[in-house]
Symmetry: C2
Subunit: 166 residues, 2 copies
């Protein structure tokens, strides 16, 4: 029955990707619910922590978000007194972002919950984490390759200028 699965969203591999993302989102939301940071906030704090005083542009790229989205987040983080700006030594357009002591404390506390979720998740993978990561990467590479393929050779259909791209 695998032949042709038309527009059957619910029976498509694409839908499975969506569902997986939702499931992981729920796992993190549930685990970190009572903590000081939401999963999204934890990601931001982690990036700042890991990159060690990097610029907003670098941090946004690391997090896979647009710069403006990151700036929205950063505004909140700074508002909580969890991060501060350090002047960039040579480029006055930019600056570096670092966690304050309070920010590091919040990150540490959230990290405990994150690790708990990750551990519970990871321990339930029959083939182990490494195998799961590899499987996910194979699928991701297929999606990326398909994207590049289709982007470069559309189908030879007349190009509408506007479209409705999101």
């Amino acid at each position: 029955m695998s032949g042709s699965n038309e527009g059957e969203l619910g029976t498509s591999l694409l839908f499975d990707v969506f569902a997986l993302d939702q499931a992981v989102g729920r796992l993190l939301a549930t685990t970190m619910r009572d903590g000081p940071l939401t999963p999204a906030e934890y990601a931001v704090y982690s990036a700042i922590f890991e990159l060690g005083a990097a610029s907003p542009t670098k941090l946004a790229a690391r997090l896979g978000m647009r710069l403006t989205t990151f700036m929205d987040q950063l505004r909140d983080v700074e508002g909580r007194g969890h991060a501060h700006r350090i002047a960039h030594p040579t480029d006055r357009r930019s600056y570096r972002v670092a966690l304050t002591a309070a920010g590091r404390a919040a990150h540490r506390e959230a990290n405990e919950r994150f690790e708990r979720a990750f551990e519970a998740f990871s321990s339930r993978l029959p083939e182990g984490e490494a195998a799961a990561r590899e499987a996910l990467r194979v699928v991701r590479r297929a999606a990326e390759a398909a994207t590049n393929d289709l982007a470069s050779a559309p189908v030879a259909s007349p190009r509408l200028p506007a479209g409705r791209a999101g």
Copy 2:
């Protein structure tokens, strides 16, 4: 095996899930860019089409979105003249949603692009689609099991009604 990967977001299985979701999102956005419907819209149209005149609540559940989110989408779809309401035979609180002829035409056209993306994607999976789906499901089940596990036995902390969920 790299036993403890602390807060390393970029080297975590959780991050791979995020990245996969992004990659698939880009694939669909790219492929459907010049079509009549965005990927999100296509999903809505498909659900309406597949479920064949179902209620908003059913459709929202099918799509994995909140009812209010679906209503936002439905407002737009109706505004384009692509769907209409059919009185529910026995429940006057509700109604059924169906595509108009124009809606079906848009769906059909978007479906061609969707199929093209799916085909390109699927054909690049070394082990085939079925294997990929199974791998994803294994990971999803682990996430769901972990969620249930952690939700039922949190850490012995009282349940806060509000929290900061976003």
